[in-house]
C-alpha cells in the first residue's frame, strides 16, 4: 500500500506480472533492453552518487583543503568534530529543529486533514490553498518575507505583545530565532496534509458504520479505526519529513542573513558544513561532517523501520 512497504519488499517479492514474463523466451533481449533503458540512471548513479560517496568517504579521513593534495589523517576530523563546540551547537540546533518542527508540522497536517475529510463542500479549495505554501516555502522570497514578519514591530511581535508577552523581534533574538524557522516549516504542512487526506479517503466507510453500531464515539473511532488504517501513511510522512528536516539549509541561510546566527542559534548542521567546506575550505572536515549526517539519517531511518513493526498496520492482502 505504501512506498515504504513497497520499497522493502521490492527486492524480495516477485511481482505477478514479473512471473508471467519470466518464463518467456527472449530473456536476453530483455536484459539488453533493460540496461539500455537504464543507462542514464546507471551513469548518473555511478558518476554522481556512488563515485562521490566513495570520494567523500575518503576525504573524511584526510586534511583536504582544496589547495593541498589530500593527506591521510585517520580519525582526526572526527575527534576534532566531537571536541568542537560549534559542531556540538550545530547538532543541538538541528536536533531541536527536527524534534520540535516535525511533530508540530505533522500534527497540524493530520489535524487539518481530519477536519477537511469531514466535508466535501469547499474541500478541494481548502486543500489547494493549504498546499500552496509547500510549493513556495523553499524560495528565497519567502525567507525574506519571514524575516520581515518576525522583525521588531512587525505582526508577530505586535500580536505577542498584545497578549502581554513582549519578546521583540524573533530574528535577532538567539532564544527565539529557531522558532522562526520552525514556524516556516510548520507553515508548509500542506504536503503531508495532502498525503494524509488521500490516506483518509481510503479508509473503508463500513468500518466506521460498524463501530458506530457498537456505540463508539469520535475519539474511539479515531483511535481504533482511523489511526491504524492510516498508520502506513503516517509512517511515510514521519520518515520523509524527518529526513528532510535534518537537511534544512536555505531557509536558515536566508532568514539569518547568511550568517546562521545570531549567536549560532540557527547554525543548522548543513550550514556549519557549508561554512567549513566552502568558507574555510576544510573539505576533509566537511566531508567527515557529511558522513556523520548520513549515519544519523541512516540510524533514524533504521529505528523508524524497526519501530514500524509495532505500530504500522498493513492491510492483509494488499499488493
Amino acid at each position: 500500500m505504501t512506498l515504504v512497504k513497497d520499497t522493502v519488499s521490492a527486492a524480495r517479492r516477485p511481482r505477478p506480472a514479473a512471473t508471467a514474463t519470466a518464463g518467456r523466451p527472449g530473456r536476453r533481449r530483455d536484459n539488453l533492453a533493460g540496461y539500455l533503458f537504464m543507462s542514464p540512471w546507471i551513469a548518473g548513479f555511478l558518476l554522481l552518487t556512488a563515485g562521490p560517496m566513495v570520494a567523500s568517504l575518503y576525504f573524511a579521513f584526510t586534511d583536504y583543503n582544496l589547495f593541498n593534495s589530500p593527506k591521510w589523517v585517520g580519525l582526526d576530523n572526527f575527534t576534532r568534530m566531537f571536541d568542537d563546540p560549534r559542531w556540538q551547537k550545530s547538532v543541538e540546533v538541528t536536533v531541536r529543529y527536527v524534534v520540535i518542527g516535525t511533530p508540530l508540522k505533522l500534527l497540524l497536517a493530520l489535524g487539518v486533514a481530519l477536519l477537511l475529510a469531514q466535508s466535501r463542500r469547499g474541500q478541494a479549495f481548502y486543500r489547494a490553498a493549504f498546499y500552496a505554501p509547500s510549493l513556495i516555502g523553499a524560495s528565497v522570497s519567502v525567507g525574506f518575507v519571514w524575516r520581515s514578519l518576525f522583525s521588531d514591530g512587525a505582526i508577530v511581535d505586535r500580536t505577542q505583545t498584545f497578549f502581554g508577552w513582549h519578546v521583540g523581534g524573533w530574528v535577532g533574538n538567539a532564544d527565539w530565532v529557531l522558532y522562526c524557522l520552525v514556524a516556516l516549516t510548520v507553515w508548509q504542512f500542506g504536503a503531508p496534509m495532502v498525503i494524509f487526506l488521500a490516506g483518509l479517503k481510503q479508509v473503508p466507510r463500513e468500518l466506521y458504520e460498524a463501530a458506530e453500531m457498537d456505540g463508539a464515539g469520535p475519539f474511539r473511532k479515531f483511535w481504533n479505526i482511523t489511526l491504524p488504517m492510516i498508520s502506513p501513511v503516517l509512517f511515510f510522512n514521519v520518515l520523509l519529513e524527518t529526513i528532510h528536516s535534518f537537511q534544512i539549509f536555505g531557509s536558515a541561510y536566508v532568514v539569518s542573513n547568511t550568517y546562521c546566527g545570531p549567536a549560532d542559534a540557527t547554525l543548522v548542521y548543513t550550514c556549519y558544513l557549508y561554512q567549513q567546506g566552502f568558507r574555510n575550505a576544510q573539505m576533509g572536515f566537511a566531508s567527515a561532517m557529511a558522513w556523520m549526517l548520513l549515519l544519523a539519517v541512516a540510524l533514524v531511518t533504521a529505528v523508524l523501520f524497526w519501530s514500524q513493526k509495532k505500530w504500522v498496520h498493513y492491510e492483509e492482502g494488499a499488493r
Binding site: T2, T7, A10, A18, R27, A33, G34, F37, W41, G44, F45, P52, M53, A55, S56, F59, L66, V112, L115, Q118, S119, G122, Y126, A128, A129, F130, Y131, A132, P133, L135, A138, V140, S141, V142, F144, S148, L149, I155, L197, A198, G199, L200, K201, Q202, V203, P204, R205, P218, T226, N237, I243, F249, G250, Y253, T270, G277, S287, L294, V297, T301
Partner: protein
Amino acid sequence: MSATTTTKPPVLGRRRTGSLAWHLGALLVLAIILYPVVWVVGASFKPSKDIVNSLTLFPSHPILANFKGLADGIADIRVWTFFQNSLLYAGGAVVGVLVSCSLTAYAFARILFAGRNLLFSLMIGTLLLPYHVLLIPQYVMFQKLGLVNTYVPLLVGKYLATEAFFVFLMVQFMRNLPRELDEAARLDGCGHLRTYWSIVLPLCRPALITSAIFTFINAWNDFMGPLIYLNEPGKYTVSLGLMMFRDSDGVAANYGGMIAMSLVALLPVLLFFLAFQRYLIDGMATSGLKG
C-alpha cells in the same frame, strides 16, 4: 487517479452548527496560511520605511516605485536576465527529468532484466540519501573539469535520472497500466522503444505532467545549487538575483525593491500552481499511496 476515487470520507458533522464550526476552523487556518502571501503583495506597494512596521495590509496610498525600480535592473543587469536564466535552468531540468526518468521508469516497470530488483532498491535508497554527502566531491569534480560557473553541474543530474522521486512516481504509474497493452504491442512487432514511445508514454501523461511541474518549481526555487556553482551575476537565477537586492556592501539594501522582486519571483510558481494544482496535489497524494 485511482487514489482519489475510492471510498467516501467519513461523514460526521452533518448538523448546521457542526458545519459552521467546520468552515470557521478552515477559514481561520486559511487566514493564517495565506497571510504571508497577502502581506508580500501589499508590502510591495509600500514605501521601504513602512514595510516592516506598518500593520495595514494594503497601503492607503499604494506606490509603484518598487516595481519601477525593478525595471531599472540591478548593477546594470536587467531583472529579466535572472528570469531568463531561471527559465533556462528550469526548462532544461524539465526536459532532462522527463526523458531520463521515464526511460528508467519504463525499464523498472515494464522490462524484466537481471538485477532489476537490486537496482530498484538502490534507486529508492538514493531517495533517502542526504545530498550533502555528495556535495563536496561533486563540487571538486566539476571544478576540476572546469564546469563551475556553468549550468552543467546544475543540470547534468537531471539528465541522468538522479531525481529518484520522479523515477519512483513514474514507476508507480506505469505499473498500473494494463500488461495486455505491451503484449498487444509485441504481437504487432513493436520493440521496447516503440512500446515506450507510442504506448506507455502517452498513457503516462498525468505522471509526466506532475513530474514536469514539480521539477520546474524545484529548479525555480533552487538556492543551494546556484549559490555554490554560479559566480557571475549575469548568470544568476532569480534566487540569487533576489539575494543581490538584499545584499549590501556599504549601503543597505533596497528594501522595497527586494520585496517587489520577491513577489515577482513568486509569481511563476503561484501561476503554475493555479493552473495545475490538481496534478500537483494528486501527484503528491499518490507518492504516499499506491492505487
